[in-house]
């Protein structure tokens, strides 16, 4: 592997990422499954980087999952997108930032469609006005939240308390990066580093001290496939895709998986559990699985935030082996407690995948 070859390609895909004054729209999947990540994103931008980021309470789903399960017509989704733009326009913002990759892909697709088929933009304006009375301007800049963290990765490293280094061995942690399909597969120029060798997560890993692993099934979809997961009868497809990735990355002995898409970390986390239940097979060390993190969770760890504030307790694959490797302290007693320390009980231990109980 010659890293210079990749660096050349990264130079070809330098994406413009806004610097400040972001209009933030949330992700359905992440609010349900990784609320701590969105919380951490805002905390980093506001407290660490002193950026202006605004969220309008009236913004909604972009309808992306409905669109990609094909129950929502394109015209409807275009108008849903237009409504979000209208809220941005009304609030006086021009930089649109999405927490979700499906949304990011949809916004990009809608803007491209309006560009190539101007009559669709006109029609959308008409629909939006008819339905809501709103008008909108198109954003100057559309960035995914991972683009923003990428842009400020060096600042985060500078402020950081921890590096992605194994305390015991002094070796950099081996990190697998997984990019959401809709980040750049449709429009390579819209993603940092393009579609074949996206740099958005690689840049974070490198600057935070880790070592990136490239493995044969790196570009493979996690298998969400929208309807392929949402309907139980189709989930065999979904889990089989993820398994393919695990089998392919296993020989490299990764310490963790880093993702930038809402769904992927959930699936890569949960499917390790399901595979272990179905086939008795676990990945990673000592039967603990390979921890899967969002980029905000990882940034939060680097910055020294409490792992339980980041939401690492709601992962099925235990995260403690990673914390121990990096040398991040945590209080096991507080893992499954509520905001005021109240006892919420504990999840049942899975039958195969190990619950982390003590330091190895």
């Amino acid at each position: 592997m010659k890293i210079e070859g990749k660096q050349r390609i990264w130079l070809d895909y330098q994406k413009e990422i806004a610097d400040d004054h972001f209009f933030y729209v949330r992700s359905c999947v992440r609010q349900n499954f990784f609320p701590g990540s969105e919380k951490t994103f805002l905390r980093i931008l506001q407290s660490e980087l002193s950026k202006d980021i605004y969220e309008n309470p009236s913004h909604t789903t972009c309808s992306g999952i409905g669109y990609h399960t094909d129950i929502v017509p394109f015209a409807t989704s275009m108008t849903m997108v237009a409504r979000q733009f209208a809220l941005m326009t009304e609030a006086g913002y021009e930089n649109f930032t999405t927490s979700c990759i499906t949304s990011f892909g949809l916004y990009s697709e809608v803007l491209e469609t309006w560009h190539h088929f101007p009559e669709t933009e006109e029609k959308t304006r008409e629909f939006l006005h008819k339905a809501t009375g709103r008008e909108f301007k198109k954003p100057n800049n559309v960035s995914h939240a991972s683009d923003i963290i990428f842009r400020f990765r060096k600042e985060i490293a500078d402020k950081g308390k921890y590096r992605l280094v194994n305390q015991r061995t002094g070796q950099p942690l081996k990190v697998v990066e997984h990019i959401g399909c809709h980040y750049s597969k449709m429009f390579p120029s819209k993603g940092v580093g393009g579609a074949e060798y996206p740099y958005v997560l690689v840049g974070m890993i490198e600057d935070w001290g880790g070592e990136v692993i490239d493995y044969p099934e790196r570009r493979h979809c996690c298998g969400f496939g929208f309807r392929q997961y949402l309907v139980q009868a189709n989930r065999g497809f979904s889990i089989s895709c993820s398994k393919k990735k695990f089998d392919s990355m296993e020989p490299y002995k990764p310490d963790m998986i880093l993702t930038n898409c809402p769904g992927c970390p959930m699936f890569l986390d949960r499917w390790q559990y399901a595979i272990s239940e179905m086939e008795g097979k676990t990945y990673g060390e000592n039967g603990h699985g390979i921890p899967v993190l969002t980029y905000e969770e990882l940034a939060g760890l680097v910055l020294g935030y409490n792992p339980w504030d980041l939401g690492l307790q709601v992962h099925q694959v235990p995260i403690e082996p990673l914390l121990d490797k990096i040398g991040i302290p945590y209080d096991p007693e507080m893992k499954f407690r509520g905001a005021d320390g109240q006892d919420l009980g504990k999840p049942d231990p899975p039958s195969v995948l190990k619950f982390y109980t003590e330091k190895v």
Binding site: M1, K6, R8, D214, Y215, P216
Partner: protein, 338 residues
């Protein structure tokens, strides 16, 4: 007073045009940007279809580089001016040349395989281009190329940078197919136990003896042809490559490990060709190669009187047809100057 012509480009087309014109008594200046003549001919080892040594063809072309030709090596053109029927060329070293006719024979370049990002050229260790393979053959470096490779399975990818909108080239480079078959046979000659696969969409064996070479590759050498375009190559932990393509004749996706991947890179117009065309106001086709005055009949002249085209500035061509074309250009120039 004898008439004169300037020929830009000292590859096969330029050399042959020059020698033909000199033989007809026309004073020739032959300009070559590199330190020696021959152009791409210097990169090839053996030529299809009969696998004769390319040096023989070079020697043939070189023997006529006689006194009637003034050779300007390492020469770079600054400006070209046309006043009346006369051309004035200024070279970077300050030299000025004059002539009554101008022949553009600046040829092509090979496609930069790095642009086909998903094939990992320049990133993965065992991905090389067909040009590099020729260099290995030519310099007898075969041993280095295959050193440490145990199972010796080789994949040859057709249409790299050709017939590809994403690469910016919709056209067929037409000679990659036969080059791939030739190289497959040559590898097999070197390593009889190697397994060789060509990944193709159409095999365009258009010229004399090409189809027979394909037949020979199958019959005598057992080279396998899989119909499907390589979709991606990735590197395995042992530095072999994992290929993914559709085996379109079965309709099933296929994955396969190879030790070495050879990319058959296509033709693109050389930057020098495009620079001169812009300087002179010559017409480029939508494939960016230069347009002759008429595609069927007036194939060697341009719409500018006194400016002629020879060889691969007009599109992909074999050495044989380049030489034939150069003679035709020479005849057109001579007729014009008469």
């Amino acid at each position: 007073m004898s008439k004169s012509a300037i020929i830009i480009g000292g590859g096969a087309a330029g050399m042959e045009t020059a020698s033909q014109l000199a033989r007809l008594g026309i004073e020739v200046d032959l300009i070559e940007k590199q330190s020696r003549l021959g152009g791409h001919l210097n990169s090839w080892d053996r030529l299809f279809p009969n696998r004769r040594d390319s040096k023989e063809v070079f020697e043939y072309l070189e023997q006529d580089m006689n006194d009637g030709i003034s050779l300007h090596l390492n020469a770079e053109i600054e400006t070209i001016l046309k006043a009346g029927d006369r051309f004035t060329l200024s070279l970077r070293d300050g030299k000025e040349l004059h002539s009554d006719a101008l022949v553009i024979a600046t040829g092509y370049e090979v496609f930069d395989a790095r642009k086909k990002e998903e094939y990992g050229y320049g990133i993965y260790d065992n991905v090389i281009t067909s040009v590099e393979l020729e260099e290995f053959f030519r310099n007898n470096k075969q041993k280095n190329l295959f050193e440490g490779i145990k199972s010796k399975r080789v994949g040859i990818v057709h249409c790299v940078g050709s017939r590809d909108e994403k690469a910016g080239n919709l056209y067929c480079s037409k000679l990659c197919c036969v080059t791939g078959v030739k190289q497959a046979i040559e590898i097999k000659e070197l390593m009889p136990d190697a397994e060789i696969f060509c990944f193709y969409m159409d095999l365009r064996m258009f010229d004399r003896h090409f189809e027979e070479m394909y037949y020979e590759a199958q019959e005598k050498w057992g080279i396998q042809f899989i119909r499907g375009r390589l979709s991606e190559a990735s590197e395995n932990p042992d530095h072999t490559l994992l290929l993914k393509l559709e085996d379109t004749l079965t309709g099933l996706p296929l994955k396969m490990k190879v030790d070495l991947l050879i990319l058959l890179v296509g033709f693109i117009p050389s930057p020098e060709t495009r620079r001169l065309a812009a300087m002179l106001g010559l017409k480029e086709g939508d494939d960016r190669f230069l347009c002759p005055a008429d595609e069927h009949t007036i194939t060697n002249s341009t719409t500018i009187p006194g400016v002629f085209l020879a060889g691969t500035v007009k599109g992909p061509a074999s050495i044989a047809s380049t030489i034939t074309d150069a003679r035709s250009t020479a005849l057109q120039v001579a007729t014009y100057l008469k």
